[in-house]
Assembly symmetry: C2
Homo-oligomer: 217 residues x 2
DNA sequence: ACCTGAACACCGTTCAAGT
DNA sequence: ACCTGAACACCGTTCAAGT
């Protein structure tokens, strides 16, 4: 299947292939057997280079975080902490848009990837220069939550035509939501593509938090 | 194993048992076979009451959301939208503290639970009475993200004694983080229990967003 | 209507064995 | 040092068969 099966395995190559596999077929496609197949090897061979599947998952989180750090490193610093942080976070977000499966995975990892730590270390440094105390920075990181890394979890996000999937007897119980959505859909000419512009919504929430933090400085 | 194995199966009973199983042994313990065992039945019997495992997962999300709605319904309305929303969200949060596995699961469900919709419908109604336009409410829901439901995803959260788990050569690369954490640990007498008070941090972030929204009203 | 036994195609992981 | 075959214990799911 793979064009070049003669390249020897390595932890690096296993992780890169796992990321590519998740990008193309989703995280559930990343099984030890499928991953090995993609590498032109047997499943058992992977265990020479990684400890277990959890290790693979930790590893691909780190790969994505490294990608974020590279994107951030290419940025120039802005005039103030807020604008610089905003740029970094939006650059990080672009990486997540290339790896749609990653937010859910970041959510489940409790162990901390070195690259994620490095990202936060930089952010702490930036806010320190911006005049925040360590205590405020600590609060700020919690307040930002996953938004500091460029994604936000939205447990309620009706996709395109979502109202069609919800049974009528349920919809009948939701007068406020229906009123809101119909007004939004009416105002938004792009409503057929889904009822919200994710990028705009992300930036709105991000700016709300950044402005709030700046006010506390 | 189960004290009463003679109660007939039902979708209701399957879902309640699944929640109890996740509470006690974590989400990975919720397999069709284990779940059936807990119910004193065979795995195949479950398929008469639920379509497939995804259906079980959607179902237990709805069970938790119903629990939240009950907790919220027991609350009195406060004098203004912000205080009332705050109370509701903190009540919802208590439900998540009883079901630690739930936030990660809510994150992966794309289909929308009726009870979650009902929760949001109430929140929209509250904000409407509070004087927000539908457009602003829509933005507000995105800005709150998972915090509207009472939890927040924090991709970087060193647990108690986390620095011990990070290899020294990595720590050496993190001057800002180390400086911040050592200062926090020094200030906080409870640092041995972990370096942050989750509840206080959650409320800090929540108030930051609620205050920001209130300012836009 | 409700439950099950047998069977299938898949997992992650081990271990002794090959080169 | 690096890779693999055989094997184990576990998945979700089907389907025809039992009561």
């Amino acid at each position: 299947m793979t064009t070049e099966a003669r390249i020897p395995l390595s932890r690096e190559r296993v992780l890169r292939t796992a990321v590519a596999l998740a990008d193309e077929h989703g995280l559930p496609a990343v099984t030890m057997r499928r991953l090995a197949e993609e590498l032109g090897a047997e499943a058992m061979s992977l265990y020479y280079h990684v400890a277990k599947k959890e290790d693979v998952l930790d590893g691909i989180v780190d790969v994505v975080a490294q990608e974020i750090n590279e994107a951030v490193a290419a940025l120039e610093a802005g005039p103030d902490w807020k604008l610089t942080a905003r740029r970094r976070i939006l650059a990080a977000r672009e990486v997540f848009l290339r790896h749609r499966w990653a937010p859910a995975l970041f959510g489940t990892r409790s162990s901390t990837s070195p690259a994620v730590l490095k990202y936060y270390d930089n952010l702490v440094g930036l806010m320190r220069e911006g005049g925040f105390s360590h205590d405020r920075i600590h609060h700020a990181l919690h307040a930002l939550g996953s938004r500091a890394l460029g994604f936000s979890q939205e447990p309620f996000d009706p996709g395109p035509g979502a109202s069609a999937e919800v049974p009528p007897e349920v919809v009948a119980q939701l007068p406020n939501l229906v009123a809101m959505l119909s007004e939004i859909a009416h105002d938004d000419p792009d409503s057929t593509l889904g009822w919200c512009d994710d990028q705009a919504e992300f930036e709105f929430g991000l700016d709300l938090v950044l402005d709030g933090l700046d006010r506390l400085r």
